[in-house]
Symmetry: C2
Subunit: 696 residues, 2 copies
Amino acid sequence: MKLLSALVLSLISFVSLADDGSRLWLKYDLIQDEAYRKSVQKAFRQIIVLDQTETTQVAADELQKALSGFTGKTISINNSPANKSIVLKLGSDPRIQKNEGFTISSTSKGAEIISPSDEGLLYGAFALIRRIQTGQSLDFELAESPKVQVRMLNHWDNANGTVERGYAGSSIWKWFELPYRIDPRYIEYARANASIGINAASINNVNASSRFLTAEYLEKIKAVADVLRPYGIKVFISVNFRSPRTLGGLETSDPLDPGVRQWWKYKTEEIHRYIPDFGGYLVKANSEGEPGPQDYGRTHADGANMLADAMKGHEGVVIWRAFVYEADPNGDRFKEAFNQFKPLDGTFHPKVIVQVKNGPIDFMPREPFHPMFGVFPKTPLAMEFQITQEYLGHSTHLTYLAPMFEEVLDSDTYAKGEGSTVGKVIDGSLNNYQVTVMAGVANTGSDANWTGHPFGQSNWYAFGRLAWDHTLSSEQIAEEWTKMTLTKKPKAVKEVVDLMMKSHPTYVKYTYPLGLAHMMGEGHHYGPQPWLEKSGRPDWTSVYYHRTAKDGIGFDRTGGMSDALSLYSPDVQKAWGDPQTMDLNYLLWFHHLDWDYELPTGKTVWNELMTRYYQGVDEVEELQKQWNSLKPYIDQEIFENVKGRLAIQHKEALWWRDSCYLYFKQFSEKPLPVGLEEPKRTLEDVKELEHIYHLR
Amino acid sequence: MKLLSALVLSLISFVSLADDGSRLWLKYDLIQDEAYRKSVQKAFRQIIVLDQTETTQVAADELQKALSGFTGKTISINNSPANKSIVLKLGSDPRIQKNEGFTISSTSKGAEIISPSDEGLLYGAFALIRRIQTGQSLDFELAESPKVQVRMLNHWDNANGTVERGYAGSSIWKWFELPYRIDPRYIEYARANASIGINAASINNVNASSRFLTAEYLEKIKAVADVLRPYGIKVFISVNFRSPRTLGGLETSDPLDPGVRQWWKYKTEEIHRYIPDFGGYLVKANSEGEPGPQDYGRTHADGANMLADAMKGHEGVVIWRAFVYEADPNGDRFKEAFNQFKPLDGTFHPKVIVQVKNGPIDFMPREPFHPMFGVFPKTPLAMEFQITQEYLGHSTHLTYLAPMFEEVLDSDTYAKGEGSTVGKVIDGSLNNYQVTVMAGVANTGSDANWTGHPFGQSNWYAFGRLAWDHTLSSEQIAEEWTKMTLTKKPKAVKEVVDLMMKSHPTYVKYTYPLGLAHMMGEGHHYGPQPWLEKSGRPDWTSVYYHRTAKDGIGFDRTGGMSDALSLYSPDVQKAWGDPQTMDLNYLLWFHHLDWDYELPTGKTVWNELMTRYYQGVDEVEELQKQWNSLKPYIDQEIFENVKGRLAIQHKEALWWRDSCYLYFKQFSEKPLPVGLEEPKRTLEDVKELEHIYHLR
């Protein structure tokens, strides 16, 4: 026994010293608070499954795993009722609004989870686990239903294993091993998603390879679908619109061509033979060089409706992306999706959902909500958020994105008067959509901790929670995640949440203050490159966006350069039309202002801009100090990991600040506001630094 | 205590059920054999370090970690002599031939490790650990010295995190996190290498980005070098020959230009300010489109010598790759490196080593040894093996490569009469080289288990062991690795070793029997494509190599198509010149033979070829059965992992067999030998399958 103890202790220290983050927020460690642990132990002595399905089995296993971990005692699973149990029961309750909803009635003598569906029971199980994991009272009543039907991750994962805009290793999908080898991480992935209510995943990049529609690959995708199914997750495939030519040997991919339509019909039937509950297609068409119906003089509706027709008789849907824009140097990319899609409202097949990015450009760190939201009464619009931090610091910056997601979801479109929020557009309540979707571009990769930056996990978590219920607050989500993932010490939780809540505003300050956008390094999107003047397309440069000149900075969208503001409802136009009263975070998205223009802050545009850049860097230093103070409360490996990344973030924040100051100063010809210290380097220095990252 | 036990048991089961392979062969688990465990406990009660350096500290820590794990008791580290200790002592011993060598005197009352260098003590520590880990007697005397000085991994890792020919996730080097975050895996990597004697690593792809020579990146590389240094590992950088233009702004990179020479001199000095013990440069020049001295009418020697001059006053060396060939449809790639380099022998700077791939083409599954070996008396030649399985099944085929490495190292060049083996060329004993190098292209990646296929780890292990001592047998290495990594049960060890030893011959049978080569899928090198007739260059096709026609198959290198055999010594020419007496494994490398030509096996070429293809597939089925029988002895996760991959291997072996049979049959117009079953698919089917993997 002595030997065993020694071994045990070394194992414990091994486990606790080496938190590599692979367990995400699903950490079912022994509850440290003895009284609470005992109350959990007493209340829940077994798990009762009344309706045996693959999914209820998963729910029971998860409860067993969690409670055994929490209490240090193995909890059994049975199928006949008993006291002090957790009972999983298919059934109805007037408080449950949707099939995936559930209720939990919990006391110190057991809990009952009820749902009309076994997926609902699984979500209920995870909700109960979350309650316990975050140390809440066992005496409660809970009724939840998801606000959005399809809660989805979009993987931009390529067939060769790379991930477009991935910063955490390679793809989690091992296509060369499938279908014969099932990586145990697929199951961990499914658990993690189910725990936050995600019920759909498109498994390949929207810049899609036709490869995924071949029998060879459908067999592989089937193997993935079979793993994900018991966790309530449906698989979607991103399709290449040229597939009838590439794979079918047809001479066209014209969506009105009978042969093409037939090909998609057959292909869709074939997919269903592998995956009977196939989620559907995700399509990037006529966008950034991808093929699409416009290649044949057809509309997006022609293309989408053809695929929807092919889906006839099946549950699946067609998610068609609105991320389209043309390379017009005199145009305004801001307006293009709106202009292309608005005339099509009312012409889409009922199975088609149009997926719109949160803002009109491309996942910039802060964008005004997309003008399409609210004004497509006849076309269900899906929200596309980006969880992976393409423009938000990759995996080296700590940027908690929930406040940004929340800002968009809470934005008021005024489409049907005050309170017509984007959230209500997405959940279908504003326009009575029959299908509702919220998608997030995944930040998952093959790295042990899934997301590279340990705080990247919180963005995956927050996306799922908000897709389930967009009225949850960012703070609440941050608090849940922190308690489940990092620490349960109240003081430390408070600090971590505070740090998370500050992180996005800080990031915006040192990169894109006052509504600047799109000044990152070309192609790789790493580091600042505000001087970028030439690229493959004018709307891939930086100068296209900031419009900096001797006379000032910003993109006038109030009529001069572009009348994009007019795409919004009159109330929004009013709110954003006047620099003196508007939210300054969107200022330069809509106004081109003289460097000396005085803002309501009392500062000129130049001084306000520079002050924010400098504040951003100072705030990173604050984040560093705050994190350092948390050392006693955080696992050592995670602590050092985040500490190292914060040091990089600080270096890069300085890089952004110095680059933007030195570049803009050429136009403003103004000094830094009093008290701000001149950078130690020149514009040439920072240009050279950016250049390094463009070397092959 | 009861609670603790439950916890402990769950931890133990957690650990033992989930061997993700991340610990490689460094598994310091409790010794199960109680008597042996007690004898280890009694013999080694503490670790005594007499000479405190960073490296002896690492050695002591490793011994502590290992012995504490083996015995379940914490072993202390002290610095004053005592009984029953492991003593690490700097000193000399007549049996130690090289600075990194060591002796171990071990009895049941303690052990003493002596070396003239602290690296030698580290190697000694690992040797003692290996002895214990493989369950050998504690009573022994050991004296070892490495046969080769620079034992090196070549990482083909790109700046963007991808790995050229990597099949285990992305790069282990996190360039965007360095220098501020030190991934704990760098230390694991260093430990693993030190444990097998690897003392050098070139950290970036030979298709090199200039980025690695900028101050920004040198700071990152310095951080890596600082981690690796205590483990005795020196860092090399692969350089882009055009760097003086790309980075220095010069108008030329001509190695005879004084400005260029000055630039490299300064750059080399700068590197040494970051990394005082810099290993040196690795160069791929004028090869497959890379820049080089020939761009300016200069020779490889001009280029290499310039870099060597720049290294003056430092320990570093210049490793110049001989992998060069021209796209001549009427030439023979087999001869090109020889012809370009032979005239240069004697003209290289003493700091230059020419690195030659094991065979004349490109890491084919079985190649005759490179004709350069043995005939460069004045130029040290380094061996370049490929550990990553570019042509050997990526990470889906179980292919233990040590027998292949051994076959090359044991090949007799006859350069100075019988016994002039390639091994003696490489270890310098044949030509009295002053610097000796063996390099292996790494198979490491960011996946938890480092190498994708669990057996990929054995190839990393075997490379290191052979670089240390090329006279070790493949069986011995396989046995060591198996005991350390998979199982210690004698019966199971025997089966695993048997399976490993059969694996390479089996792979060759179903892909490239009788000396065929280079018929893999274009570009990605996945799957068979013997029909490939057109590519960017003639010597990138398949038909260039197999020369299949109505009249037979094979590349005549005995004078007709090419006289490449004449590059070898007369004894080798004699051995390989006659199809009736030669090793049939090299047959079609040198002979173009009629399909009906009767081989000494009694079969015609056609029948022998087809018999081998079919045997290969049958043998994979045998491997599968053999592996299945090992289930009780192998960790469940590893067992399932390998089982899944063997199923893929079987599918792909069939794919190779069917593709080659169906393709070659068009020319031979012959039936399969009696008893072999016709494939169920057509040539079109297998072509289509290969085509899928070429879709974007």
